[in-house]
């Protein structure tokens, strides 16, 4: 009895979560310019449209570039902090950690205003670096969490063993800590990349007029009228997301990376 209830619950939720994805994918294959679902006269015309339209392609490229750089910057901020907390129990680092968490939890629209104000005050509004840095700091709590988990997972006996086998501090870092941390680092990168790629309001406020990312272009299009071309972008992002997280799951232990039990226990 309860098994049936559980199945029904999971099924409904799965449907709920999948519905928009299905709708968007379906519309992208629509043969006409209207937003029809289920798609009529299925065709790839909008895909062609998307990839040949310089406006969409530059928005896509821009989004990807911003996301990539933001993720690198975020990790460059997160790694030293996480290491300082784990290795030195540094209170300064823990304070920075707290600050980072807070900036993630602030209402997004407020954050966007705050950064708009900030970059304007610097007289530097409207540049791509603004978006990159803003995203990096807002999302830094994600690699902080994953890398923190990574450090926590290091068994101190491994470090003792390495030292008795002749490793100096730097050797320990290189030969023991790095291989263990790496998957967590990568997952942190992927998280920031994906969230930055899709982030709208901060990107818009900070540099929207000059720097048109894909979500911004979609929103602008929304106001002017629908075309299924927008959905192509959505499908692309979906695929990227599935590929990205799927790759992490394939190579690493996804449950463990998210803080859960590891394989073979429980």
């Amino acid at each position: 009895m309860t098994a049936i209830l559980r199945r029904a619950f999971l099924g409904l939720l799965a449907l709920f979560l999948a519905a928009p994805l299905i709708v968007v994918t379906g519309v992208s294959f629509n043969g006409t310019a209207r937003m029809n679902f289920p798609p009529q006269h299925a065709s790839l015309i909008w895909y062609g449209n998307f990839f040949s339209d310089p406006g969409w392609m530059s928005a896509l490229t821009l989004s990807a570039v911003i996301a990539a750089l933001a993720s690198l910057v975020a990790v460059s901020i997160a790694l030293p902090i996480a290491y300082a907390v784990w290795r030195f129990n540094s209170r300064a680092a823990m304070a920075l950690q707290g600050l980072a968490r807070v900036s993630f939890l602030l209402p997004a629209v407020v954050v966007s205003i705050v950064y708009l104000v900030f970059w304007s005050a610097l007289g530097h509004a409207g540049h791509i670096e603004d978006t990159i840095l803003s995203h990096a700091v807002v999302f830094v709590t994600l690699p902080l969490t994953t890398i923190g988990l990574g450090f926590q997972s290091i068994d101190s006996a491994l470090i003792d063993a390495a030292r008795t086998l002749g490793a100096r501090e730097g050797d320990v870092l290189r030969t023991v800590i790095r291989p263990i941390i790496l998957p967590y680092l990568v997952s942190g990168l992927v998280f920031v990349f994906i969230l930055s790629l899709n982030e709208y309001i901060i990107a818009y406020m900070v540099a929207g007029f000059e720097v048109e990312t894909l979500p911004i272009k979609v929103f602008n299009n929304l106001r002017m009228g629908f075309t299924p071309t927008m959905c192509v972008g959505a499908v692309l992002f979906m695929l990227l997301g599935v590929l990205g997280f799927g790759a992490i799951a394939w190579v690493g232990d996804l449950p463990k990376l998210l803080g859960g039990r590891t394989q073979g226990s429980g």
Partner: protein, 279 residues
Amino acid sequence: MRRWQLSVLLSWPALATLALTVVPVWLLLRISIAPPDPAAPWGAGLTFEAYRSLLAPDSIHALRRSLQLAVVVGIVSVGAGFPLTYFITRMQRRAQVGWLVFLLATLTLSDVLIAFSWQVMLSKRIGLSRIFVALGLMQQPDSLAPSVGAIIACLTYLVIPFTVLTLYPALSQLDRSLIEAARTLGAPAWRAFTSVVLPLTRVPTMVAFVLAAVLTLGSFVPPVALGKPEHWPMSVLIGNAALAGHNLPRAAAMSVLLLVVTALLALGAVRAVRHRPTP
């Protein structure tokens, strides 16, 4: 050896974090007491006009709507997200990973796209209303948006992956032998759940709720796209004041208010978790 190395190590992170959190917030406060200026982002001088406008009925209602929305979305998303996470952590590894990738993938869609796809789904022509007619819940197909329900549905959709990710560590690491002990002591499955699992996960549940509420408070696009002006919460007013109204001081003042509300919400949640008597 330690101290200077530590300073060097943390110099860049500290610079980046402090520059981009403390400074902007201070600026926000400063702007909120400046007069608006059509020619520049904000004008010179000092005025409390922006804060005074917060007392207008418009703003009060918007704030009320923000809070209502936050609480409802928080409850719905945790209400659905908790059992979902619980079931996921009980699954075989393959299924678990599948669900996790699926949830993470839904994160890939920008709230703009999600709002848009909900618009499509709820429109007269396309989707959901036709199903409701077939089920006998509605007389005839009609557009289900813009409406409050639409906003709630969309926001819940956006927030659930975060809820699951927040609850996942705690539920995954749950010591099953505690539940088994409760069962052997005579508790039926349901009671074992409420008397063992819920108390143990009080904190992450509260964190998930606060996260859901805060994400809702800050959300701009879904309410704009799926709600009528009379449904708009404070976040929309802030966005509009900045973009269309060119009134940064007003946006700043409203932001400060929203920040205060958020902080109070978080504090309230922490209190609630700490002071609940043990069952």
